[in-house]
């Protein structure tokens, strides 16, 4: 069952690579949050109940609802155009994301370690690099943030793989999540909306040599 959820997560990346509208990205983020909620419940079986509840609450509240809702609010408030404005055509993006996933699979097949479930590793690595790809290939600041959130979801998948033995690391991951949500979204994205109307990276490119 966990494998099905993880594969669904990897498939959501492919969908993300061809998505055109910002709202589609937000829906995919919500979907990923819900999948992670399920995966947490199925994977972290050795944890004490309070810690597990805390982690699950964080995934469902932060990842699936609060952050996407807040981004939606920002898009509406700042009247950001709904087009994602990628630098590359969607078809090329699809091929690149597919190649990322295939290379993650090839890399994982070279690991000879019994301690790690490879599905976790493949999905986490694919999400990490897809997130980075999203950041460099999209024009708007808000899509950069979405790319970062995808990286975070990927990292969370990886932390689930070691979560039963080292629950402290999963908690650290949650701290990272809250830190990023509060700092990046809460304070600065809000401020950027206050100062400039159409948050587009071109406006923030004057600091150079």
């Amino acid at each position: 069952m966990t494998d099905i959820l993880l594969i669904a997560l990897a498939m959501s990346l492919l969908y993300m690579s061809i998505a055109n509208r910002l709202y589609t990205y937000l829906r995919i983020l919500i979907l990923q949050g819900i999948i992670l909620f399920g995966a947490t419940y199925l994977t972290l079986t050795n944890l004490n109940i309070i810690n597990l509840l805390l982690i699950m609450l964080e995934t469902i509240v932060f990842k699936a609802f609060a952050v996407p809702w807040f981004m939606n609010y920002i898009i509406k408030r700042n009247k950001i155009t709904r087009e994602a404005e990628p630098y590359l055509p969607n078809f090329v993006s699809l091929i690149i994301v597919t190649m990322i996933i295939v290379s993650a699979i090839i890399l994982s097949s070279s690991i000879k370690d019994q301690n790690l479930d490879k599905t976790f590793f493949v999905v986490a690595l694919s999400m990490l690099f897809t997130g980075l790809y999203m950041i460099v290939s999209r024009k708007k600041i808000i899509t950069h943030v979405i790319g970062y959130l995808v990286i975070e979801n990927g990292v969370f998948v990886l932390s689930l793989a070691v979560g039963n033995e080292m629950p402290m690391l999963v908690n650290l991951g949650i701290m990272l999540d809250i830190f990023a949500s509060v700092l990046i979204l809460g304070i600065f994205f809000n401020k950027i909306g206050d100062v400039i109307n159409d948050p587009d990276v071109n406006i923030l490119s004057h600091l150079k040599d």
Partner: protein
């Protein structure tokens, strides 16, 4: 003592944040400096003491802690001058926030230096990002917003990378059957670690910490940050915060140095270091913004430090000496920049000139700072750079040595042509009646910082040498 220090800092920074009275504000900052000094002296007297399980006052942590204590007082004094002297639009709230962030940044750096657990270091790195971003956004304008946005975003990615590195490290430890993730425990079990995970872990942790240290690939955030932050804050970002990146990488490298991956790690470090020196050269030969030039000079020095580390032998000693001396020299330049800005009201090299005429004592600081930062005798960095070159030679990195020397020569040319323009060439247009009188006493702390760097390099006290040697023993 660490507990008292951290709780004291939290109380002081929250009082600073809520307080509106100017004199209460400055007394609180003074109180913090006193606590910081007591903390530094206490830790020095209790070396290798484990506190709260996760903290240990080992030699490298102590060295950087004492260096930070030493620069904290001048930096906070100049922050006070910065807020008071020439900024009309300061409000009690912005002043309170500025000093609260400053205090928090210094304390988080101190705690991270002494942390003996990679996850705890990571936590304090997060705090430094938070407090540094408040400092960078101090002026609340669009350019400051751009600087802070880039800084926060790149630091968030770098923190995520470090976290991924920690996860891989936990996998490497899991294979060895080790539960405890403290640095000491990892070093004790280095022969049992799974090398594949360790390799991945080092790669991610190294890349993550380059954002703080100022190395390729993630150096960019730091440049904008030091440019947009007020100069006293820039002084902290260019010294204490860069050292935080160094200590993170050093602790991880100390584990790698005992495994068969040592030469692989050296290759990674040499590539990043060479690219950093190269990037610094490219920008420094054509840069026109004085503050960014100082920031790029930091990138060059961190590249040299990493080269020393990778070369091994005497290079490791030289790298630690270099980073301590750099901690003293770079703040002197950044603090002096405040006065340059008061005179010319510009950061651009096109608008400045004849600084010797307008502020003699300050101009001498700039000149000595230039000599120090480029490693020309009698600069302290001359000694450490010489030892780094020697170690590169001994390690048979001859081509790298030649390349670096060529790049450094170009850096001296680029740095020098801008500094001499600032000092001697008359500016194109300047209204001399608007130039404020600057007291020579304002430059006193910069002289002390530069003189200390020379003293530590040419006549190092025995305690200082012992601390560096102990830190070197972690690797060799």
């Amino acid at each position: 003592m660490l507990g008292i220090f951290l709780i004291g800092t939290l109380i002081i920074s929250s009082l600073l944040f809520f307080n509106k009275n100017k004199w209460v504000n400055y007394s609180l900052v003074g109180l913090f400096v006193v606590i910081l000094w007591i903390f530094g002296i206490y830790e020095y007297q209790h070396q290798n003491l484990t506190q709260f399980i996760f903290f240990k006052s080992d030699s490298l942590g102590l060295l950087l802690l004492l260096a930070l204590c030493f620069i904290a007082a001048p930096v906070l004094f100049h922050a006070f001058r910065y807020i008071e002297a020439h900024n009309v639009d300061e409000t009690p709230h912005s002043r309170g926030l500025f000093f609260a962030a400053m205090v928090l940044l210094i304390a988080a750096c101190c705690a991270a230096y002494l942390s003996n657990h990679i996850a705890v270091t990571w936590f304090f790195v997060e705090i430094t990002t938070l407090s540094a971003s408040a400092l960078i956004y101090h002026h609340r304008n669009i350019r400051a917003l751009e600087g802070v946005w880039k800084y926060v975003f790149i630091c968030a990615i770098s923190i995520t990378f470090i976290y991924i590195g920690i996860l891989f490290l936990s996998l490497a430890l899991k294979g060895a059957g080790v539960e405890d993730m403290s640095i000491d425990s990892i070093r004790e079990h280095y022969d049992k670690l799974n090398l594949f995970w360790l390799k991945l872990s080092f790669l991610f942790i190294f890349t993550g910490f380059t954002a703080k240290l100022g190395l390729v690939p993630m150096y960019t955030a730091g440049i904008d940050a030091k440019d947009k932050a007020p100069a006293p804050a820039g002084a902290l970002l260019a010294s204490g915060l860069m050292n935080l990146g160094f200590i993170g990488i050093y602790r991880m490298y100390a584990v790698m140095a005992h495994t068969p991956l040592h030469s692989w790690a050296n290759t990674v470090i040499v590539i990043a270091a060479l690219l950093s020196v190269f990037v610094a050269t490219v920008y420094m030969t054509r840069i026109k913004n004085i503050k960014r030039m100082f920031a790029y000079s930091g990138i060059e020095h961190m590249g040299l430090v990493m080269l020393g580390l990778a070369a091994g032998g005497i290079g490791v000693y030289a790298a630690i000496l270099h980073i301590v001396l750099h901690t003293l020299i770079k703040p002197a330049l950044f603090l002096q920049f405040n006065q340059v800005y008061w005179v010319f009201q510009s950061k651009s090299i096109y608008d400045v000139g004849n600084y010797f005429k307008y502020n003699k004592t300050g101009a001498i600081v700039v000149f000595l700072g230039f000599l120090s930062a480029t490693g020309m005798p009698p600069s302290g960095l001359f000694i450490s750079e010489f030892m780094i070159f020697q170690s590169l030679f001994q390690a048979h990195y001859i081509l790298i040595l030649l390349g670096v020397m060529l790049l450094l020569t170009m850096i001296i040319w680029g740095f020098g042509s801008n500094i001499f323009k600032l000092l001697f060439t008359p500016p194109i247009s300047i209204d001399e009646s608007k130039i404020p009188h600057i007291s020579p006493w304002e430059s006193l702390t910069q002289y002390i910082l530069l003189a200390t760097s020379v003293y530590l390099a040419y006549n190092p006290p025995a305690g200082f040498v012992t601390l560096i040697q102990d830190a070197v023993k972690l690797i060799q």
